[in-house]
């Protein structure tokens, strides 16, 4: 039994990797070859799809747009959530528990419910088709999440540290940026990771709130699928490229993921 322990995770990873492999496999085939029939490897190996995506602005701007609003959202979420998480962790105040619960319920708000009202709201504010609109709308679920994770990390820092700093004559903003933020550095990293992740994978709102200027890669993919026929090779390559940023981010935070899950109570 003990010697076959590795079998379960290995089989699971195989199960996870097969669809990814299939996507990769297709991305190196021509559309004709894909539609021609089943094959394990590309017979006519080509990187044309990748070349097209990386040279055609309507394609690669989709990635740029996505990354812009994701980064924007991550910055907004973390910087807004930090003081709030501190307040929830250190102070009691009128209505704090209800407020915290209300925040959390928004993590559970189905985007499908909000898609249409969001469109009206952001159009009314004149933000339709901007990166900011998407970034702000993703705050709906990312800020509650960020507050929740950060609150967990901040509660792990003994409050004596705060008190010592005040005694040493630090003002609150200086204490917060010079002493406190470095202390919860890994917490901020984990939070940023999760904000990035949830903003990157969400597409319903991103698609609804944009048309041309801030069009995310997902929208580019679906629109290409409907206008230029069914270019499977191109779509597969685009799909592979959407996995890349996520994979890079995971690699950098691999040692914090488990800890973040445990401490942040995601």
């Amino acid at each position: 039994m003990k010697h076959r322990r590795w079998l379960v995770p290995t089989l699971y990873i195989l199960f996870l990797m097969l669809p990814v492999y299939w996507l990769l496999n297709m991305s190196f085939k021509t559309t004709n070859e894909i539609l021609g029939g089943f094959s394990w490897f590309p017979a006519d190996f080509t990187v044309d799809s990748y070349v097209k995506i990386l040279t055609d602005p309507t394609w690669y701007m989709g990635y740029v747009n996505s990354i812009i609003y994701v980064v924007l959202n991550t910055v907004i979420s973390v910087s807004f959530a930090l003081p709030a998480a501190y307040a929830f962790s250190r102070y009691r105040f009128l209505g704090d528990k209800h407020l915290f619960f209300w925040l959390l319920t928004n993590r559970m708000a189905p985007p499908a419910v909000f898609a249409l009202p969001f469109l009206q709201l952001y159009s009314a504010m004149g933000l339709f088709d901007t990166h900011l609109a998407v970034a702000l709308s993703h705050c709906l679920f990312n800020i509650p999440l960020a507050v929740w994770i950060l609150e967990g990390f901040i509660s792990g820092v003994p409050r004596e540290i705060d008190e010592t700093a005040y005694l040493d004559g630090y003002s609150f903003p200086r204490f917060f940026t010079k002493i406190f933020m470095p202390l919860i550095g890994s917490g901020i990293g984990v939070t940023a990771f999760f904000c990035f992740m949830f903003s990157w994978v969400e597409l319903l709102l991103a698609k609804t709130l944009t048309s041309v200027e801030a069009k995310p890669i997902a929208a580019v993919m679906t629109r290409t699928a409907s206008t230029s026929g069914y270019e499977l090779g191109l779509l597969a390559a685009a799909g592979v490229l959407t996995i890349v940023p996520g994979a890079i981010v995971i690699y950098f935070v691999r040692n914090y993921i488990a800890k973040g899950f445990a401490m942040g109570r995601v």
Partner: protein, 287 residues
């Protein structure tokens, strides 16, 4: 840790409050507004009271999608939670291989949801997809675009593929928090593998597992993009879960009143379950 009473803390919460309220309250009010009115275009609205609500609650279509929703959520929970725990238990606990496992397993979580749908859309095709082709090759007739059973199988398998890793990571985090001495003590006490799981590992994972179930419940309840891209709710209405039905009603048929009323019923249900879990978790923390 004793918290101090300080109502000025409100100022630190205000920015968050503002931005979330903008995103939550204004749209919610819009939805509530729609749910009690009717329109014939031209921005003319008529107050309809609870008509849409009674209509939705009485409609067979809503009952069907709700039923499908519960079936879906129940099935994936029953599969993903035990599977996730099992994998976390057999994973290397530390070292290089555990990092490799974590990175590879977290990968599906970071793939945009429409790409997940598109990937499985192709992967499960009976003629050119590995899964569809493979199943047919094994003699199992499989075509998710035609057979409701195949479609359900694919939707569920996709969700298992997409989200089991979340349960694995949470359970793994719970297991990591167990001190080695617990295992040593159990060994000395002559505990069986099952007893170690039952009395050491499971109690330590209880908290993270509650979170895992909560998250998977909520997320599966509002799932939209992946099944929409995969099957579009079909064949027929076979895999039309709540969100898909909602968007169909709102954008496809422009039945705003019905869609809004559905949204609110839907939202209240998630809220209720969320509240139940939240109470459960905070109660657990107090002990």
């Amino acid at each position: 840790m004793q918290k101090t009473l300080n109502n000025k803390a409100w100022f630190m919460v205000l920015p968050v409050l503002f931005i979330v309220a903008l995103n939550a309250i204004v749209p919610l009010m819009t939805v509530v507004n729609y749910s009690v009115q009717d329109t014939f275009g031209n921005n003319l609205f008529f107050f309809e009271g609870t008509r849409w609500f009674s209509e939705v609650l009485a409609s067979e279509r809503f009952h069907d999608s709700l039923l499908r929703q519960f079936f879906f959520t129940f099935t994936i929970l029953v599969i993903e939670v035990p599977l996730g725990v099992g994998i976390a238990l057999t994973m290397p606990r530390r070292g290089f291989w555990s990092s490799v496992c974590l990175v590879l397993m977290a990968l599906p979580l970071l793939i945009p949801w429409n790409v997940v749908g598109a990937m499985w859309n192709i992967y499960a095709l009976p003629d050119i997809g590995l899964l569809g082709y493979g199943l047919n090759w094994l003699g199992i007739p499989f075509d998710y675009t035609q057979q409701p059973v195949s479609a359900w199988f694919t939707v569920i398998l996709m969700d298992v593929w997409h989200w089991t890793s979340l349960v694995v990571l949470l359970a793994y985090a719970g297991l990591r928090s167990i001190d080695d001495n617990y295992y040593r003590a159990a060994q000395i006490d002559g505990a069986s593998r099952w007893a170690v799981f039952r009395y050491i590992q499971l109690p330590k994972m209880k908290h993270v597992l509650t979170i895992a179930i909560l998250l998977r419940f909520m997320d599966s309840f509002m799932i939209y993009t992946e099944p929409f891209v995969l099957t579009g709710g079909g064949p027929g209405n076979a895999t039309t879960v709540l969100s898909i039905d909602l968007v169909k009603a709102a954008l496809g048929e422009f039945n705003l009143g019905v869609a809004a009323a559905m949204s609110i019923i839907y939202f209240l249900m998630t809220l209720l379950v969320c509240w139940l879990f939240y109470t459960l978790i905070t109660q657990g923390e107090k002990k």
